[in-house]
């Protein structure tokens, strides 16, 4: 038995260094050589200041911006506290929260479902093209832009399925709103 324990301890010590230290350091080195920006979080800067990450959603709730999805991460889009709501479809809290979101979208027509539901991570950077197009009239009127211009902006920021097949078409809300600010602050 003692022999088994000694073997196990030695084996654990050596493989722990290999798998728990050497391996992640090797990957970090290679990642920073090949994809430095991505390995560091695909950060966006404006005037030298970090204003977010391409991959991490931000809250947008004002009428002049395209809204992002509701978020259950911390107080909303807390990227140090990723989380879904975990509300069941029969939970009254879910039904009430969706109804409240629907009313803030001032909905004359049915709201695309992703715009009133929380994502799994609470950090979803995207909305569906349906949700972006839905918001075009509001954003256009708030910014004093023709609807066609804003619609064109949405279409040019719509990412098709990857390789033409995988995933779903998306619109990155942060990218879209930054482009909107550039077009007409």
């Amino acid at each position: 038995m003692k022999k088994h324990i000694v073997t196990a301890c030695l084996y654990t010590a050596i493989t722990a260094v290999l798998l728990g230290v050497v391996y992640p350091l090797l990957i970090t080195g290679l990642a920073h050589l090949a994809f430095p920006a991505k390995a560091n979080g695909s950060l966006l800067t404006r005037n030298g200041e970090v204003i977010g990450s391409h991959l991490i959603g931000q809250p947008f709730t004002g009428p002049a911006y395209f809204h992002s999805r509701p978020s259950a991460a911390g107080t909303g889009y807390d990227a140090a506290n990723s989380s879904g709501s975990n509300l069941a479809p029969t939970n009254k809290a879910l039904v009430d929260r969706v109804a409240a979101s629907v009313s803030t979208e001032a909905a004359a027509t049915p709201v695309p479902i992703d715009l009133v539901t929380t994502s799994a991570s609470g950090l979803d950077p995207d909305i569906t093209p349906a949700a972006a197009l839905y918001q075009v009239p509001r954003v256009a009127s708030q910014r004093g832009l023709p609807e066609a211009t804003v619609r064109q902006l949405v279409i040019s920021h719509t990412k098709p399925r990857q390789l033409g097949l995988l995933g779903e078409p998306t619109v990155n809300v942060l990218d879209l709103n930054l482009a909107l600010d550039q077009l007409k602050p």
């Binding site: 196990a8 509300l87 990857q162």
Partner: protein
């Protein structure tokens, strides 16, 4: 449901079936000690490791020694992780100065990662330091997967060998699984993930200035303004790769593979799903090759694919349905949205990839999630639960799935033998009373733990009911899912349940521990017993294990055992919730 969704699902399974044979052939070469292209690199490393640890690679072990080595190794590695967690505040690579992990949670986590479960009662980005994640947790992702593979190979040897007392050498199998399979695959896969945007760094969390400052109600109830966003970072890609390849599933972040830094694009998502099934599918092919009946491997794989397909179809259909309680929302599939039940799902994955991932991660005992199972429709959420309840044999965990499946194979040939009134045989080995007893023990421990703990939790209101996030039948589903996931060593959750309490931390620890080791011991006993037997020549009365009829019988046995055991519990949880949802009830 859409045409594109069906295409993506078909592409996924087609790719797995294409990869199964090359992967399986490679695994056979590795575990039979034959020549492989990695020998020039891995060979010297292995020899050095054997020399330093004084392992004699030629030493053959009986099933008992194999089991003892495995248990001692698991114990030592669990202690190491427990120690690192308890001391992380004093150790390096903790830029957020996270505190030491408290004992109940540290124990739960150490056992969770040792047993390949990766149940997480905590939120990693606010609990575990970088060092704990890489040295305490990611190492287990390698070890527990390599242990699973070693055990599966030992079982296969039990079937393949004749009149032999031994099953191989645990340390050699462990080393070959790690150095020839898991580590090289992880290196390639983690770089592929970084190319998609998965982060890999050791810096402190970034602070970004929000483009639009937000007015919120603060924790004290007063209005507050949020102007910044703290962005958690870490050595994610290296851990993510082995988390999926080893069917571990423990996320670097709380949101797991839904977090954009863990799974940023549909391509990374596709690769992650492939990497869950890659080794289990390969091992099924290996089984056929190592026992000298390649068709048997494919017949077993076919049963796995049938059960996977049934689960995927059900889940995809259920999640595509609108929630009837929501009004004035557009839940229909169209060219510009995937519609359906989007609560707890990411836009880039939509309905098809969320349902497929949920099915794949619970078929295999992975437990990573790219959507929140707790928010699934009642029937959609029942699919992941049923997948685990079937015993984690539909592909299953790396290694663990295959040996679980082989126990069902023994039951299937036993039942076939009963039907025709002959002593059952499996690949020339007579299946006798001892083998069937051990198989039944294996099959009964599982529901005993799950239903036992769930019943105690439900009956004792002071123990765990205050942890529920959802009430009514869904509350029962949350508890049932927790013990199912722990005992099946899956690790996914109906995550609304707050499991970071003493009751859940300790009881789930027991469930994970027994769900792994109490099932391995009867399994190894069967392997040891089979290895000793003679081969009897096949006769006209032998039930062939290479035909579609065998696949059908095997699938039937799995479904019937699972349904008979768990159907009553499921009627009170997801099935009742489904009926109430459509009757307009809320809780």
């Amino acid at each position: 449901m859409s045409l594109n969704g069906s295409l993506q699902i078909s592409l996924f399974i087609a790719t797995i079936l294409l990869l199964a044979k090359p992967m399986g052939t490679y695994l056979t070469h590795v575990f039979e000690g034959r020549k492989t292209f990695l020998d020039p690199v891995a060979g010297p490393c292995a020899r050095l490791l054997y020399r330093v640890t004084r392992i004699d690679p030629a030493h053959e072990m009986r099933w008992t020694e194999y089991a003892i080595s495995m248990l001692v190794f698991s114990g030592v590695t669990a202690l190491l992780t427990y120690g690192i967690e308890r001391l992380q505040h004093f150790l390096p690579l903790n830029p957020q100065h996270l505190a030491n992990v408290e004992p109940a949670l540290a124990l739960n986590t150490a056992i969770s990662f040792t047993t390949n479960t990766n149940w997480q009662s905590y939120s990693p980005e606010s609990t575990m330091s970088y060092l704990t994640q890489m040295l305490g947790l990611a190492t287990h992702n390698f070890w527990s997967a390599a242990v699973g593979m070693a055990l599966a190979v030992a079982f296969i040897r039990g079937i393949a060998r004749r009149e032999s007392k031994t099953l191989g050498n645990f340390w050699v199998d462990l080393t070959r699984g790690t150095l020839w399979v898991l580590l090289p695959l992880s290196i390639v896969f983690s770089l592929a993930l970084v190319s998609q945007g998965v982060v890999q760094n050791f810096k402190a969390y970034d602070t970004a200035t929000l483009v639009e400052a937000q007015k919120i109600t603060g924790a004290d109830g007063k209005p507050a303004t949020v102007t910044t966003q703290t962005i958690a970072q870490g050595p994610v890609a290296s851990q993510e790769a082995i988390k999926m390849l080893g069917t571990n599933g423990g996320g670097f972040f709380n949101a797991n593979s839904a977090h954009p830094f863990e799974n940023p694009t549909p391509v990374s998502n596709f690769l992650q799903m492939l990497s869950i099934f890659l080794l289990p599918a390969g091992l099924a092919v290996s089984l056929g090759q190592m026992v000298g009946s390649p068709k048997h491997g494919w017949a077993v794989l076919a049963a796995m694919v049938v059960l996977w397909f049934a689960g995927t179809l059900t889940c995809y259909w259920a999640e595509s349905q609108p929630n009837p309680l929501l009004h004035n929302v557009d839940q229909h599939v169209s060219l510009t949205q995937s519609g359906g039940n989007m609560e707890g799902k990411e836009v880039r994955f939509g309905i098809a990839n969320s349902a497929l991932f949920a099915t794949v991660t619970t078929d295999a005992s992975c437990g990573a999630v790219n959507s929140m199972h707790d928010s699934f429709t009642p029937l959609g959420g029942m699919v992941p639960m049923v997948n685990i309840l079937l015993g984690e044999v539909v592909f299953g965990g790396v290694g663990a799935g295959l040996y679980g499946m082989l126990v069902f194979v023994i039951m299937a040939v036993f039942i076939a033998g009963l039907m025709v009134g002959r002593t059952p045989e499996y690949l020339g080995k007579k299946i006798e009373s001892y083998d069937v007893q051990m198989s039944m023990l294996y099959l009964l421990i599982f529901p005993f733990i799950i239903l036992g703990f769930a019943a105690v939790t439900v009956l004792m209101p002071n123990l765990g009911l205050s942890s529920l996030a959802n009430h009514g039948p869904h509350g029962l589903s949350e508890i049932l899912y927790a013990y199912t996931s722990a005992t099946g060593n899956n690790g996914s959750a109906f995550a609304g349940l707050n499991a970071n309490t003493h009751w859940y931390n300790y009881s789930l620890t027991v469930a994970m521990f027994f769900g792994r080791f109490m099932m391995i011991i009867p399994m190894l006993a069967i392997a040891g017993n089979l290895a000793r037997k003679k081969i009897v020549p096949a006769s006209a009365g032998t039930f062939p294990v290479t035909t579609p009829l065998f696949t059908l019988l095997l699938t039937g046995v799995i479904v019937i055992v699972g349904a008979l055991t768990f159907f009553p519990a499921l009627t009170l949880g997801p099935i009742l919730e489904h009926l109430l949802l459509h009757a307009g009830h809320t809780f």
